[in-house]
Amino acid sequence: MAKTTDNLDYLDSADDLKTLDKANENPSFFEHRGNRKTFLVVFNFILLAIGSLLILSPLWWMFATSLKTMAEVMSFPPSFWPENWLFSNYIKTWEAAPFTRYTINTLTITIIVVIGNVLSNSFIAYGFAKIPFRGKNILFAIVLATMMIPGFVTLIPQYVLFANLGWVNTYYPLIVPSFFGSAFNIFLLRQFYMTIPTELIEAAKMEGANHFYIWWKIGLPLTKPAIATVAIFSFNGAWNDFLGPLLYLNDEKLYTLQIGLQVFKGQLSTQWNYLMAGSLLVLLPVILIFFIFQKYFIQGINLQSGGK
């Protein structure tokens, strides 16, 4: 591939760069700062472009493999460009397992979890951010401390709890906890509520509004970017959840895509073309959401680091 030669080119330029750096320490030796800046930009651009290939090639490979015949997948050496683009692989994959049912199941769980997370976390975070009450600081410290507990320490006893409630083989264990808040989201939303001026809330109270009304009418609309972040993260978390469904769902009718894909792998063993088609279908919603809402992702992360 052409990129191999690019690679060597850039190694040469790395040596050049060292000489330039040396030159820069002694200004009389080399005075064209402007030149050097341009050079750095070009050098970094090439480095980033090569890196993009490393990031993107697995995804391209996935797509290419999903379109090949099994004979082409097995041929040596395998190729980056499929010979015939067999989009029919996708239909075959979809029909080889009850994908439609898995998709409906996964969507149902995901939507309920997103609603639960958004409502409960913003409600709780409003309380922690905007209402004074005794013991608030201690409670908030406990919220933060729960982030330190390894998940498996509570996973097994939670299973025992849900098993005793008769919730195994239902969606309750997957959706009910999302209505009771989670430390990271409470923390994130609280940071946002802290920036709302207290005067605004006082003014609303003067006009007779209570906290429920203020939360619903002022709090929620003013924290839209943070809520979008929570919604997107919850969507990804629920859509990609593997452990929960693996643990709680035994009935194939209730399976989610993540578990369905797993079963599918066993059925078709090394039918890589179908397996890659199925995997890509499962990843597609996440990729789409990423590209539509990427600015919210970035904002959410910014905030997290701001609250160090």
């Binding site: 097995m74 709780i124 922690f128 006893p157 452990l243 578990i259």
Partner: protein, 303 residues
């Protein structure tokens, strides 16, 4: 007046408790309750069906002195953590330094490099199983262009853990974004002053950027250490439905705990395991906190 104030306050407090009530209920039901139960059950032979008998420290003793798989799983986990945490941290810092520059198309690059961080779950693990397939995968194909005979990756006990580490490196974008955000917060005047003193790019990076982002490095290292100790899903999927890989090379701590709890139904034993993990993670975090003042630089602390 004074009385009215009091009732106002009380009213506020009641609202406060109502607002945080969902969390309190959730905490008691899904965290505190389970923690207490787990701690008690770790001293019993609990297996979900029969009644539980108190066995004292039997589970802990068995784990530490008789169970070689416990040590295997602990070693595997340590190996993974020791290599993956420094590699991903250095990788993420390097990448964010590159992405923190005025280069044409930088916004496009930032989005692209972050993309793998949102991709997780079975689809991605399947993708990596195919990429690392010795015969039909992309990785060994690319290596062959350079005349390198690639290893058997997930089929060779010596290469299974490195395989998972490579996968982790691919999705380093999450930490990268954290570093990028904090690098953008570093004041421009610091760089300008250094430039006047004749500092070059490397000097500016090591003497300004790196010290200024140490709080975020600290945060990232602590969370990735804790996360690293809890590796489960990728190992479960990529080792044939939780079998632990060739020669138990992918039998990580949580995988073994899972097996004890949900395959062998040794729940008491598994819960003892989970408390040992808790202690390990706790001690590790405390060491981190103790060491932090030596290298973490907080702005406004001095100077």
């Amino acid at each position: 007046m004074g009385k009215k104030r009091m009732t106002m306050r009380r009213k506020e407090s009641i609202y406060g408790y109502i607002f945080v009530l969902p969390w309190i209920i959730g905490f008691l039901a899904f965290t505190a309750g389970p923690l207490v139960f787990s701690f008690v059950a770790s001293f019993t032979n609990y297996n979900i069906t029969s009644q539980m008998d108190f066995v004292g420290g039997e589970n802990y003793k068995g784990l530490l002195t008789e169970d070689s798989l416990f040590w295997t799983s602990l070693w595997n986990t340590l190996y993974f953590v020791i290599f993956s945490v420094p590699l991903t941290t250095i990788g993420a810092i390097f990448l964010s330094a590159l992405l923190n520059q005025d280069i044409p198309g930088i916004r496009y690059f930032r989005t692209l490099y972050y993309l793998p961080a949102v991709l997780s779950g079975v689809g991605v693990y399947m993708l990596w199983m195919q990429l690392l397939d010795p015969g039909t995968g992309m990785v060994n194909l690319v290596l062959s262009w350079f005349g390198i005979d690639g290893p058997n990756w997930l089929f060779d006990p010596d290469w299974t853990k490195p395989s998972l580490i490579f996968m982790k490196l691919w999705s380093v974008g999450g930490s990268m974004l954290l570093y990028l955000a904090s690098m953008q917060g570093v004041s421009k005047s610091l760089y300008e002053a250094a430039e006047i003193d004749g500092a070059n790019t490397w000097k500016k990076f090591f003497h300004i950027t790196l010290p200024m982002i140490t709080p975020v490095i600290f945060f990232d290292v602590v969370t990735s250490l804790i996360g690293g100790f809890q590796i489960f899903q990728e190992a479960y999927v990529m080792s044939n439905n939780g079998e632990g890989g060739p020669a138990n090379s992918l039998l990580f701590y949580n995988l073994y705990m899972w097996k004890q709890a949900f395959t062998n139904f040794n729940m008491g034993y598994a819960m003892a395991m989970s408390w040992i993990l808790f202690v390990i993670v706790f001690i590790m975090t405390m060491i981190n906190l103790k060491l932090a003042p030596r290298w973490v630089h907080y702005e406004g602390e001095e100077k």
